[in-house]
């Protein structure tokens, strides 16, 4: 966990309200960044509006930089999204647990695939599993399928980057309005896959309604999976208790009935989360 001042290396506008930023960071931060971990970012201007830092998934990282995808939905994301190259940000991270390592223990059958499910901005977190791959490989003989749903075709982001970086990846996309060819929800794609590969391992990130659906689908197929949550956070390191999520009474994530998403998550076994 590092507190640092980073510089915006580049800021690409992908859609009307989505930005793709590369930011400098200490080497140690980059080394500790693992798929599914996140960073708290704020503008480094000494002013108090916005007050708190905002959490973003670390989508990719190099030796001394990392990348985030920012959707401008309010004051904080708007301010960060509009930062010019060369501007400074205050960063804090990497935080959270990240996705589990995909080893044989996690997968019940080695031939069954790893299914990554991304809804909307959930791609930022999910993409880290693929983009980090060339540095810290997932189990090499693990086939991977990316199921990616968005509202419209132009919100299906970074597909080129992801394909380029991930050999042996199958990508299926779907959009709410059908503009990508297939119309519907990403959980329909998940059902299709699980029907064929019921012993798969699933990682999912996206809006809460989607995660609820993913949870139900996984439950129906009695198959294992992990959900990455995006609860509101004030601190990001376990002290404000603002981000807690109800959890099933027993299990490996905390003894009690709730867990701090920032430190015990954001990635939880799908069957533990109580929405």
């Amino acid at each position: 966990m590092y507190l640092f001042t980073g510089k915006i290396v580049s800021n690409r506008q992908l859609t009307r309200d989505i930005r793709y930023l590369r930011i400098t960071a200490p080497a140690e931060f980059c080394r500790q960044a693992a798929p599914g971990r996140f960073v708290m970012l704020g503008c480094d201007d000494g002013l108090f509006d916005p007050l708190l830092k905002r959490p973003f998934g670390i989508m990719n990282r190099g030796d001394d930089w990392f990348e985030v995808l920012i959707k401008e939905v309010g004051r904080g994301t708007l301010q960060l999204g509009e930062l010019a190259e060369g501007s400074c940000v205050s960063g804090h991270g990497p935080l959270g647990n990240g996705y589990p390592e995909v080893d044989s223990e996690l997968r019940s059958k080695d031939s069954s695939p790893l299914i990554l499910v991304a809804g909307g901005m959930g791609i930022a977190s999910i993409a880290s599993c693929l983009l980090f791959n060339n540095r810290r490989p997932l189990n090499p003989d693990c086939k991977t399928i990316l199921l990616y749903g968005a509202a419209r075709l132009d919100e299906l982001l970074l597909l080129d980057e992801i394909e380029k970086n991930s050999a042996d990846l199958r990508i299926e996309t779907i959009t709410d309005d059908g503009s990508s060819g297939r119309r519907g929800w990403v959980t329909e794609l998940l059902e299709n896959e699980l029907r064929q590969h019921p012993a798969s391992l699933t990682f999912a990130c996206g809006p809460e309604p989607m995660l609820k659906n993913v949870q139900q689908v996984l439950c129906k197929f009695k198959t294992r999976g992990y959900l990455s949550l995006e609860n509101r956070m004030a601190c990001g390191f376990g002290v404000c208790l603002g981000c807690v999520q109800k959890m099933a009474a027993t299990g490996d994530n905390g003894a009690g009935e709730s867990a701090k998403v920032c430190t015990q998550g954001p990635v939880f076994p799908a069957d533990k989360v109580v929405f």
Partner: protein
């Protein structure tokens, strides 16, 4: 070197006047990756109750202009788990620990205080009579001078630890409560706890917090906090600790200037977990630059 030591009361001497506010510093351990918590004047724990408490359902925090609303609902691990799982490590780390306590009624408060009385490694108790986020307990003590005095007297009877009573800002005349609890045996006062606030979402037409209202903290409330500290310092003879919107050494010095003998840093810890020690250093640098020998020469030196 500026002497930063402050004696709050004879039994409570701090190496410097910078503490961390209850509910914003966890149980202390969470901050060890960021700073040496032994270097803080003291750390004040999350509010502890007799039994563990799960807190409020639904959204618990939302940001407002230069502030935040929280409705955590005093979630905590309970006094026994704190003593077994947290305190030993805090002692080992060398931290000076003040325990913040609350209950649903007077007996609860007294029971916790009694339980902590003989425990080594606790420097003082801070009694929260002012949390706006729980229905029973908390704020009704904080707005009624008589209820507050009775509560403090009950706690006073069962402990020899220095007692800090934490006051609510949501009152017409804070000096009434301040005087009442001072008379009832509180050694020290700390203020302010959060202001009660509300945030709503016009699209969903619902409150943004699960608990409907929440406690407002952060830089937005600093002017109100400073005014109340100033008022209470003038009204009572016992020492006062200043809290509310402190985010820099200058902010902390403002509270000391109006007469607070120490300060507590709250919300700012979330934004910068190292802020506590940065403020210690900043106070020292400022005083040195302005040729003060000790911080106590600066405390209360406001000219009006």
């Amino acid at each position: 070197m500026v002497d930063l030591q402050v004696e709050i009361v004879p039994g409570l001497v701090l190496k410097n006047p910078v503490m961390t506010a209850s509910g914003t510093f966890g149980y202390g351990r969470e901050y060890t990756p960021y700073l040496d918590i032994a270097k803080l004047g003291a750390i004040i724990t999350k509010g502890l109750s007799l039994k563990p408490k799960t807190g409020n359902p639904g959204t618990r925090i939302t940001e407002t202009a230069c502030g935040m609303l929280n409705a955590i609902g005093l979630e905590n691990i309970g006094i026994e788990r704190f003593l077994s799982d947290e305190l030993p490590q805090l002692k080992q780390l060398g931290a000076d620990v003040i325990v913040n306590i609350f209950g649903n009624n007077q007996d609860d408060y007294a029971a916790i205080a009694a339980r902590l009385d003989q425990v080594a490694g606790i420097k003082a108790l801070e009694i929260n009579i002012s949390c706006p986020n729980v229905k029973a307990g908390g704020i009704q003590f904080g707005t009624d001078p008589q209820a507050a005095a009775n509560l403090v007297a009950a706690v006073r009877r069962v402990t020899t630890l220095p007692l800090i009573t934490k006051l609510s800002p949501n009152v017409s005349d804070i000096t009434k409560v301040a005087e009442a609890v001072a008379d009832a045996g509180s050694d020290v006062l700390s203020l302010i706890n959060t202001l009660v606030g509300l945030a709503v979402d016009i699209d969903s037409r619902r409150p943004l917090l699960g608990n409907i209202t929440g406690g407002l903290s952060g830089p937005a409330i600093k002017p109100v906090a400073l005014r109340l500290v100033h008022q209470v310092v003038k009204a009572v003879d016992i020492p006062v600790i200043g809290i509310g919107g402190i985010a820099s050494a200058r902010d902390a010095l403002e509270f000391l200037l109006v007469g607070a003998r120490a300060v507590e840093i709250g919300t700012a810890n979330f934004i910068n977990p190292q802020i506590g020690l940065e403020i210690v250093t900043g106070i020292s640098d400022y005083l040195e630059q302005h040729e003060y020998e000790k911080v106590t020469d600066f405390i209360g030196s406001l000219q009006v």
